[in-house]
Assembly symmetry: C2
Homo-oligomer: 253 residues x 2
């Protein structure tokens, strides 16, 4: 893992890194002395490691609870080259949108391919991050994601015992995702943007119902998937603090 | 309004009061100097102003956010005499339970009658509470309730402009309740205990969907209606603090 940049703003250190083919970013408390628990953040399809909503959540998690947050570009996203097949999927989504045809079937297939490739990349990233002096390698890890990030998290969590809690929001639901959800055992928080026509409410509730986890919470809120209300970002950070540890009492909210 | 007792424990003053026929209780910060916003708390049918879950929420709201919380016995509940008709409803519910027949139709009718009577009682209680030196009479008021408390809150909020936010959980839903929900305009937080067979999930989601409020949040959590998870109590207190003011930063959690 090679760090390629480091900047500090408002008490948060931002470091870009490269690990083999993976491009990523790490946000951590500038205070630096405390070994802080790790949160992984999965962006949505078509976005990248520094999506605006992802950054907002990451900065809040670092500032209010002392987490270290890592995000990596999904294959073919952000700073990473696209394969010919990825280009074809992207083109198929654009054409479907232009023709006002449903994009869900294409997105579901594309997401699954991306998530399958992302799982070993996340595992390699965790391995590398846990060697850092300011990351607590013994602490349980959280995974947060939206859309593609949910699919990735649902594939990653059952095969990666270091992940102890997941916080998700907004995803196209198909039968294979429901099947993956049933295998989830760690505490999960799931968000549905109630007024977002892109995400069918009924299938969102069905996904929540399918989660195999003993502790699960559904949050539906009026509005669309972006922006996520500040109180939901705060709730997500508190959820991780409850399950992973972290400085719950330092919340600035 | 006559106070009949006053005790202080762990920084919270508990005062019982009588107002005409109404028996009630008030919890407020022992520090006393700050004029704190008011929360009203509606208990469930068959319970009373000092139901265990209600007390837990009230003490948390006072301790963590400096609210003053009031609860009154519903007609025929707690320290108040039951009418012959209330006795008949209670007996009908007991008989239905014993015969393993659905109690919802009886509870719905009984709740509506109790709530109709409770609305003017809550308004008289608010009038009296706002004359107290330690209550901020200019601050917007919150109403929290479960079961019967939801029905009462949904009847009270549209006719009582001093109520600016409501937090509800778990109620038998019928068409007249859906109609009342459509008239709600203030921010609302609604909870569904996902594994509670007494409360049908689908009708709970339908109630959330019916709320006319621009800002609304649904929280479903694994488990039954009692006990409410601590993090949900905390979320409810934060919800009120966002909408009513209050000392958000003093949370002990």
């Amino acid at each position: 893992m090679e760090f390629t940049s480091e900047t500090t703003l408002n008490g948060v250190v931002e470091r870009h890194f490269i690990l083999d083919d993976i491009t990523g970013v790490l946000w951590s408390p500038a205070s630096g002395s405390v070994e802080s628990p790790l949160l992984l953040s999965g962006h949505s399809g078509g976005m990248h490691k520094k999506a605006p909503g992802l950054i907002a959540s990451a900065l809040h998690s670092v500032s209010s609870h002392g987490f270290t947050v890592a995000a990596i570009d999904a294959p073919g996203h952000g700073d990473r080259p696209r394969s010919t097949q990825d280009e074809q999927w992207g083109e198929a989504i654009r054409q479907a949108r232009a023709a006002h045809e449903p994009i869900a079937p294409i997105v579901v297939e594309y997401n699954r391919s991306l998530a399958e490739r992302a799982v070993p990349e996340w595992q390699a990233t965790i391995d590398a991050l846990q060697t850092l002096p300011d990351v607590n390698a013994d602490a349980p890890i959280g995974f947060g994601g939206v859309s593609l990030g949910v699919v990735t998290g649902l594939m990653l969590a059952p095969v990666e015992s270091r992940i102890a809690a997941v916080s998700f929001g907004g995803v196209f639901v198909d039968s294979s995702l429901l099947e993956a959800a049933r295998k989830l055992t760690v505490p999960v928080e799931y968000r549905i943007p109630w007024d977002d026509k892109d995400y069918d409410r009924t299938s969102g509730v069905a996904l929540f119902d399918a989660f195999g986890s003993k502790e699960k919470t559904l949050h539906a809120y009026s509005g669309r998937h972006y922006p996520v209300p500040d109180y939901e970002r705060d709730s997500s950070a508190r959820f991780f603090a409850r399950h992973l540890g972290g400085s719950v009492g330092v919340s600035a909210s």
